[in-house]
Amino acid sequence: MIGAGKIKQYSNILEKPLNKGKQEVSLSAFAFLFSELVQYNQTQVDNIAELERRLEDAGYAVGARVLELLCHRDKGNRRETRLLGILSFVHSTVWKVLFGKVADSLEKGTEHEDEYMISEKDLLVNKFISVPKDMGTFNCGAFVAGIVRGVLDGAGFPAVVTAHFVPMEGLQRPRTTILIKFAEEVLQREARLG
């Protein structure tokens, strides 16, 4: 019977406690919801870029909230003021809470000073989605890119974040890489803070 468990009903969201509660959400429920999100947005737009932007905006809203909640809950009210600090926060804490594991790798870009990459062998949102050839380079990881952008933007590190497929030898499906390109002011402030 649905809803058989006894959950205390709160009259207002402000009364409800902020602690962890039930950690897990059904994977199938999430995959279904996400696929509906993508399909709904597909009907609303004319081109791929617009679709990616919409997914990113949806993720941005999540990122802004995740930042505040996790800093309060898991980090004992410490803010991140340094670049590496916020990157490792995203790579470990955020990934652990959202996907149940830390991200596979965090790398610094070789060509540009302001580029960083978070890679994931099998990104959760791409797990049950196959992209047809005529959609080109479209990547549903744009949702996760939006989450990362929301976290970075909220913490005061504006960046352009995109998701890319990187084919890997030995793996049937390509790896997903989240590419983070920080704005100029972030690098200047980092240099100033020394």
Partner: protein
């Protein structure tokens, strides 16, 4: 004896999203708090703590500030010296703010219009300050 207090929440874009006055205070209180924003801006990047204590003085009034992870600032104008009370006040309001923020229909950076939130903040102010 109640101390004069004015509490505002300022979003990261320097727009006030919530205000609460203890008594009928002049515009001067809000002016003082807004003038202190510049100081907060610089100070926020020098420390990873959220509670920034008293950062500015005006006559006998002090400005205390608490910065959240998303750079939303809670600013309190007061004339008491009760630092622990102020810190616990900020922490309680921070929890309330996060609960408001978690509402998917709340646009971050917009005004907080919930009367329930207002009631709770005023009750906390009476309790802690």
């Amino acid at each position: 004896m109640t101390s004069t207090a004015c509490f505002i929440i300022v979003s990261r874009n320097d727009i006030p999203i919530y205000e609460a006055e203890r008594e009928d205070a002049a515009q001067l209180h809000q002016f003082i708090l807004h003038a202190a924003l510049d100081i907060v801006q610089d100070l926020a990047w020098t420390t990873s703590a959220m509670f920034l204590k008293a950062i500015d003085k005006f006559n006998d009034l002090m400005v205390s500030v608490y910065v959240t992870a998303g750079h939303t600032r809670f600013m309190l104008l007061h004339d008491s010296r009760n630092e622990d009370g102020i810190k616990s006040f900020f922490q309680e309001v921070h929890e309330l703010y996060i609960k408001i923020l978690l509402n998917p229909l709340y646009l971050p950076g917009s005004r907080i219009t919930s009367s329930h939130f207002d009631t709770k903040v005023r009750a906390l102010a009476r309790k802690c300050l």
